[in-house]
């Protein structure tokens, strides 16, 4: 049971909640995640820890409304409790002094890169942060990221903020400008794949954070398996970070689509429940 201390929407479908979870806050490191069950009948869903405050005993989670279980999570108000939250899970991101590092975030990944950028900067790296979204409205965490980055570059599909185009164009330019020792990409699978294709040619080690399906998320069920370097790896206990040049993105995409057709049915059920509860 963890109380929601604050809650706000960052964009039409992206929400930020801060939760009292002292034990998780005490151990959380960049790149780790929690599993949340927002209601008795809900799924167990993995969500990245976007920030944590050890002194206050809180963690911050950013999530996108993407279906039934996240809809239940958005329905919880300040003062209400999340019935089950487990973490910190996953292997923390590798943080050391690499030199010049480009961190790319797309969609809700923009918030998920925040702790990584913060930790990399604290470790003495020159961090160039590149974020991308469909439009200006969907750009989140801009002030937070600008504080911890050397440079913050923006791309939007419609040109309503920053460069009109894709994050990969900005990444290519950053690499051309001066040598980059490492790239980290967090976001939609096509974005991560495009970044990896680009850096493979340039020979720059690139880490991606994989948001696979998960159930127990503690190394038991095997649903998070993904082919990395030709071998099955398990994102919950061996990830979520992997060497992007070795990830089989087609395998990942196909597995992520397993339940697509049932997601709508579940969401409709939750919508009916919530309408009943509110009306």
């Amino acid at each position: 049971m963890s109380e929601i201390l604050s809650r706000k929407s960052l964009s039409p479908n992206v929400f930020q909640i801060t939760v009292a979870a002292p034990a998780i806050a005490a151990g959380a490191r960049a790149g780790q995640f929690v599993v949340i069950i927002p209601a008795t009948q809900a799924e167990r869903i993995p969500l990245t820890i976007a920030d944590s405050d050890q002194a206050k005993g809180t963690i911050t989670i950013i999530f996108q409304l993407a279906g039934a279980t996240t809809r239940l999570l958005t329905s919880l108000q300040v003062g209400e409790k999340i019935p089950h939250i487990l973490g910190p899970l996953g292997v923390p991101s590798e943080i050391e002094k690499f030199g010049r590092v480009v961190v790319v975030g797309g969609g809700v990944g923009i918030a998920e890169i925040y702790p990584v950028v913060k930790a990399l900067t604290a470790a003495g790296n020159e961090v160039v942060t590149i974020v991308g979204a469909r439009n200006k409205e969907l750009l989140i965490f801009q002030s937070e990221l600008s504080v911890v980055s050397c440079q913050l570059l923006v791309a939007t599909d419609d040109g309503s903020s920053g460069r009109k185009g894709f994050v990969t164009e900005l990444l290519a330019e950053a690499i051309k400008e001066r040598p980059v020792q490492r790239v980290i990409a967090v976001g939609p699978v096509p974005m991560m794949k495009a970044c990896c294709d680009l850096t493979r040619e340039a020979g720059i080690k690139t880490i991606v954070s994989l948001n696979t399906l998960m159930l127990d998320a503690t190394g038991m069920c095997g649903v998070c398996r993904v082919k990395v370097g030709g071998e099955n790896r398990f994102a919950c206990v061996e990830g979520p970070d992997f060497d992007g040049h070795l990830v089989d993105f087609a395998d990942l995409t196909s597995r992520l689509g397993t339940y697509k057709d049932l997601e709508k049915k579940a969401d409709d059920h939750v919508c009916r429940l919530l309408r009943g509860k509110n009306g």
Binding site: E43, A68, T218, V223, N232
Partner: protein, 460 residues
């Protein structure tokens, strides 16, 4: 004396009815059946059955109480050494343990000890007998994992007067009893009652709590028992194994048992079952997965196993129930590749036939490929049930605890690990074993922990 040749069978729900739901299949003894069966017991002076019981139940004593019409007292007798009788009565392989060593085997059917244990446990849960709380001792012990090993260890230590806290990472208490064994074989309300009993002994249970570093725990607790259970599932290593429609048994059963996917969308975790399901493997988990598949609406369910019937590791009664329910067995058959349809979903399994050669290290005859025997089976769901490794988390985060090359914690013959004050048992040591062997480990560890703490002067 025809009835003497067999022991009394529990009533069972008819096949046509039971394969449509998840309700329990055997219905348990009537009081009359139980007393009659209990009276067949010879009350041996040197009971062989007890030697076959990993949790050392005084079997003749509890059976005598049933024969006398005192089932609640029988349950109390069992609980002197076994905190989970309703579980054991249902899922122990008694035919390989207490019932195997029953003296009656020489001439007749052995006493149906498992069915009697279940009957006693049931009688008590109906009468809701409150157990006595033990006095709290001075030492505190942490137990990692609330499965059969952890609950047994915790219960035994609480009975000895220690303060025990169990840490469970999942949101429900019971480990494999919850996520692994289906409702129709072990109803979850039975598990909840047994957990309630362990709590009533004074054991504190914390859910949603992942134990990271044992060193940290050792600052607060004088001893630690690690019963963190099963880990990553084994896969076949054949092409196509990551296609949608291919589950590990762990995943499939977790969705259905733990997350109640069979009630989707009332419960939001989905599961997809096709028309024709192939379950790979022939252990109890494979049988469970096959029977769950039928209940989810599969039209045809196959067990695909590379050895022959004689080597199938599942309990006889589970194999029989599977067959009764219509599961088909493809023996001496091994999958070599899985192929997708146009949408990417698994649609076909290529297999080859096997024959048995010389015995291997496990003593079972090694399956050998029959050249040129490849054939394809149309299927749309595959469940891989070929075992799992121990859970990786504790090992990865605690290099001080020595593990073998399979990732299992190394223990001595009394469950002590390489780290002083830390003990382990169950699947985290064994890989994949039975509920009762895990319970035996938990019991042995509790006794050893008591000795360890006494030697350290930690006990009152």
């Amino acid at each position: 004396m025809a009835e003497d040749k067999t022991n009394a069978r529990m009533r069972e729900r008819p096949v046509a009815e039971r394969i449509r739901d998840f309700e329990e299949v055997p219905l348990g003894y009537t009081a009359q059946q139980a007393v009659a069966e209990a009276k067949r017991c010879l009350q041996c002076k040197d009971p062989k059955c007890v030697k076959g019981c990993p949790v050392e139940i005084d079997i003749p004593a509890f059976i005598k109480l049933i024969a006398q019409g005192l089932p609640a007292e029988a349950a109390s007798k069992i609980k002197e050494t076994n905190s989970l009788p309703a579980v054991c009565g249902r899922v122990c392989p008694q035919e390989e343990q207490c019932e195997l060593t029953c003296i009656l085997n020489a001439k007749k059917a052995p006493i149906a000890i498992g069915s009697l244990e279940r009957f006693a446990a049931e009688a008590e849960s109906k009468e809701n007998t409150e157990p006595r709380r033990s006095a709290a001792g001075s030492a505190s012990i942490a137990v990692i994992g609330s499965g059969p090993a952890g609950l047994t260890c915790a219960g035994d230590l609480a009975k000895l007067g220690y303060q025990v806290t169990v840490f469970e990472s999942l949101h429900v208490i019971g480990g494999v009893l919850q996520y692994g064994i289906p409702e129709f074989r072990l109803p979850k309300k039975i598990v909840d009652l047994e957990v309630q009993y362990v709590k009533s002994l004074g054991v504190k249970i914390v859910s949603d709590h992942l134990v990271d570093e044992i060193d940290g725990l050792l600052k607060e607790y004088q001893a630690v028992f690690v019963g963190s259970g099963a880990g990553l599932p084994n896969f076949l290593g054949v092409p196509g194994e990551n296609l949608p429609g291919v589950y590990s048994a762990n995943e499939f059963l977790f969705r259905v048992n733990m997350m109640k996917a069979y009630k989707f969308p009332e419960y939001l975790t989905p599961v997809k079952i096709g028309k024709k399901v192939a379950v790979i493997g022939a252990g109890n988990v494979a049988m469970d997965a096959a029977r769950v598949s039928l209940r989810l609406g599969a039209e045809e369910v196959l067990i695909v196993y590379r050895r022959s019937r004689g080597e199938m590791p599942a309990r006889r009664e589970e194999i029989v129930r599977c067959e009764e329910e219509g599961v088909k067995f493809h023996l001496l058959t091994a999958p070599i590749a899985l192929y997708p349809d146009q949408s990417g979903w698994v649609k076909e399994m290529e297999c080859e036939k096997m024959e048995l050669g010389e015995p291997d290290q496990s003593g079972r005859r090694r399956p050998i490929t029959v050249p040129g025997s490849e054939f394809k089976l149309p299927i749309d769901t595959v469940i891989v049930a070929i075992g799992n490794s121990p859970n990786p988390l504790i090992i990865r985060r605690n290099p001080g605890v020595r593990a073998n090359d399979r990732g299992g914690i190394i223990v001595d013959d009394r469950q002590a690990t390489s780290l002083p004050g830390v003990f382990a048992g169950g699947d985290i040591v064994r890989g994949s074993a039975t509920v009762i062997s895990a319970m035996g480990d938990g019991k042995r560890a509790a006794r050893r922990i008591d000795e360890y703490l006494r030697a350290a002067g930690q006990r009152l």
